[in-house]
């Protein structure tokens, strides 16, 4: 057990991420506060998604990926040899850029993950039906799909599909939800619904969202981390602070240039 400050859901310490010999992310030290929305912004290629995916060990799906440093979660370094990545991913969930519901019914989409992780109904515990309904409610999707739970998940619109993916992530009871540009493939109205949802979810879960839309980061988050790319194309953390500060009075000139759009 490592004694990490329990105000923080996730802490990255001296995190470096490599693809083969190429260092994609350099010396990141970042502490994510519990039950708040933290946004990660920065120009293309600065490693935002890489850092996000390192928080639930999704990087390992790429064969040449390797990390040095620690990511602390709930008392453990998730990169420790004894830690099972499967368990990490259950407790740190993920929503992806392009909605990717399973090719199953809406009900099954939500239920599958729960069942997989040993969901047991019964006396005193919610049944699977109740749990699916609860998760769909939390994802602000229940009213729209309650009559068609058996229909394919792919029959929904883009925004609904993304909310289904959120419901699916909620179904395994994570503590942290990572969102990789969750609204970038959606129209403005669907985007706003997702943003609203993020704020509601933050009451119960810690949310970390990567976005290339600055205004979205400004609207939605409590804290913002600005990443940039150095001359070796390695991403590094430039500035991290409360969102109002980052967007009205950033301390670092690079941050100022980026948020005012005078970058490059």
């Amino acid at each position: 057990m490592i004694d990490n400050d329990l105000n923080f859901a996730i802490q990255a310490q001296n995190l470096n991420i490599f693809y083969g010999n190429f260092r994609a992310v350099k010396d990141v030290n970042l502490s994510i506060e519990r039950k708040k929305v933290t946004a990660i912004i920065g120009p293309s290629g600065c490693g935002k998604s890489t850092v996000l995916r390192s928080f639930n060990r999704m990087n390992e799906l790429v064969p040449s990926a390797r990390s040095e440093g620690q990511v602390l979660f709930s008392g453990y370094n998730i990169y420790d040899r004894q830690v099972d990545p499967v368990e990490v991913r259950r407790r740190i969930g993920m929503v992806f850029q392009k909605p990717n519901p399973f090719t199953k019914s809406i009900y099954e989409n939500v239920a599958w993950g729960a069942r997989l992780n040993g969901f047991k109904g019964g006396i005193g515990n919610p049944s699977m039906d109740e749990w699916v309904e609860y998760c769909l409610h939390k994802a602000a999707l229940w009213d729209e799909v309650k009559d068609k739970l058996k229909q394919s998940g792919l029959s929904l619109s883009g925004g609904q599909q993304q909310r289904l993916c959120i419901a699916r992530a909620l179904a395994v009871s994570p503590e942290v939800i990572l969102m990789d540009e969750p609204a970038s493939a959606l129209d403005p109205i669907a985007t706003l619904k997702i943003e609203e949802l993020m704020r509601e979810l933050a009451e119960e879960y810690t949310i970390i969202v990567v976005t290339h839309n600055m205004q979205q980061a400004a609207r939605v988050s409590d804290y913002t981390a600005f990443f940039n790319m150095d001359e070796n194309r390695a991403g590094y953390l430039v500035e991290f602070g409360p969102t109002p500060q980052i967007f009205t009075n950033p301390q670092n000139k690079l941050t100022e240039d980026y948020v005012t759009g005078r970058f490059g």
Binding site: M58, L61, R89, R90, V95, F96, N100, F102, T103, W112
Partner: protein
């Protein structure tokens, strides 16, 4: 960030080149249409040929007048068994006689049985004096009848379809009129069943391993290259491989000796099991490649979604990758089975029997298959064999199409869900 143009404004000149571009486009389209048309024409010709030969007029004559067989004025119905046996011996080919003896010695048979043999094989052999194709039969009917009247006054002319239920259910026979494809059909079906049971699990398993589990090192790349190359190896080489390994080296297993089957005729390992194993090997590379393609076609986003929920690799594959790859896998299965059904050369090398009349009833039986049967019939000189060969081809095509249709239906059923 304005693009430096020194403030000048450039006006480009475009020459209208629409007509030649359209002409070129039309030319290519015509070429492609032409190739499709040629393909369709070839297909039509093939079908025409087969159907033409499968139906038509046939002139049948009795080979031997039953009365002429009477010995010393006694009609055959009253002759004793021994005499009957002599008559048989004199009137039937040596090979046929030996075959009859092998099935059951004539002396040990009842009188009725021997009499039936006389009727079937001596009197009844209907001599076919002429066959005509469908088109001819339809267009020149009167001429043909007149021709036959002239040359074989005793012969009857009738319209047959060479393919009929009797054809499918009758065993092999040297008599064209009685010959059927049952033996060959059963052989084909049994062999294909074994091929499917062996090749599908191994092929799908290998493809899953190569696509999902194997890391990208030189060993696995070499394996992949080998599989790709094996898909192009001529099938007769697989036949030789099967001969060496399954027929000879694994003789105790494939002949069933170690399981207690001691049929002397199959002691050499030339059994359905060997044939099935050989075809499995033949079909495996193509199957693996197709299944790999199908698995590769499953979008990675589905896998990521599953992993993101805390699924293990196997759970992801079983619940998401495989179900979504089923259309492709079924396509691969169709291709493999179709290829296997049509293979002739390797099975000949393995040792398909040239003439068996009893049905194969176990994996350790001797066998023949439809393509081999067709080959044997088409290589005979007499014209009437070509007709039943055509009929057998129709049976083969029907089998093929129905297997394909089943697979396509299955594929559609699974695709409809998405």
């Amino acid at each position: 960030m304005s693009i430096p143009t020194n403030g000048k404004r450039l006006t480009p000149h475009f020459e209208s080149n629409l007509p030649p571009r359209n002409r070129k486009a039309t030319l290519w389209r015509t070429l492609f249409q032409l190739s499709t048309t040629i393909g369709m024409i070839m297909l039509m010709l093939l079908l025409y040929n087969i159907i033409n030969a499968s139906f038509g007029l046939v002139a049948i004559d009795n080979k031997i007048d039953p009365a002429s067989l009477a010995v010393d004025g006694v009609p055959i119905e009253e002759l004793d068994q021994e005499t009957l046996i002599t008559i048989i011996k004199e009137n039937v080919s040596k090979g046929k006689f030996r075959q009859l003896e092998r099935e059951q010695p004539l002396a040990e048979r009842t009188w009725d049985e021997v009499y039936q043999v006389v009727i079937d094989d001596v009197v009844q052999p209907k001599d076919i004096v002429g066959t005509w194709s469908l088109v001819e039969s339809l267009t020149r009917k009167e001429e043909i009848v007149a021709e036959v009247e002239q040359e074989h006054p005793q012969a009857t002319v009738k319209f047959t379809s060479w393919i009929d239920p009797q054809f499918v259910t009758s065993p092999q026979s040297s008599d064209v009129l009685k010959a059927g494809v049952r033996t060959a059909l059963l052989g084909t079906l049994l062999i294909i069943a074994i091929t499917i049971v062996i090749a599908l699990p191994i092929g799908i398993g290998a493809a899953i391993y190569l696509e999902e589990y194997a890391s990208d090192n030189w060993v696995n790349r070499m394996i992949q290259t080998n599989i790709n190359n094996l898909a192009g190896v001529p099938s007769i080489i697989y036949g030789m491989l099967g001969l060496a390994i399954f027929v000879r080296a694994m003789k105790p297993i494939t002949s069933g000796a170690i399981f207690g089957f001691t049929d002397p005729t199959t002691a050499n390992g030339r059994t359905i099991l060997s044939a099935g194993l050989t075809l499995s090997l033949l079909v495996l590379p193509v199957l693996i490649i197709n299944v790999q393609e199908a698995i590769r076609a499953v979008p990675n986003s589905l896998r990521e979604g599953a992993y993101g929920l805390g699924a293990t690799k196997w759970q992801t594959i079983w619940y998401h990758v495989l179900p979504n790859a089923i259309p492709g896998i079924l396509t691969g299965a169709i291709l493999s089975i179709s290829r296997a059904i049509g293979e002739t050369a390797p099975l000949v090398v393995i040792g398909a029997a040239t003439y068996i009349t009893f049905d194969p009833n176990s994996p350790f039986s001797k066998f023949t298959t439809l393509p081999i049967q067709i080959y044997q019939w088409t290589s005979r000189a007499q014209g009437e064999y070509h007709n039943i060969a055509a009929a057998a081809i129709l049976v083969l095509l029907t089998l093929l199409l129905s297997l394909n249709a089943t697979a396509i239906l299955l594929r559609n059923r699974y695709s409809r869900r998405y």
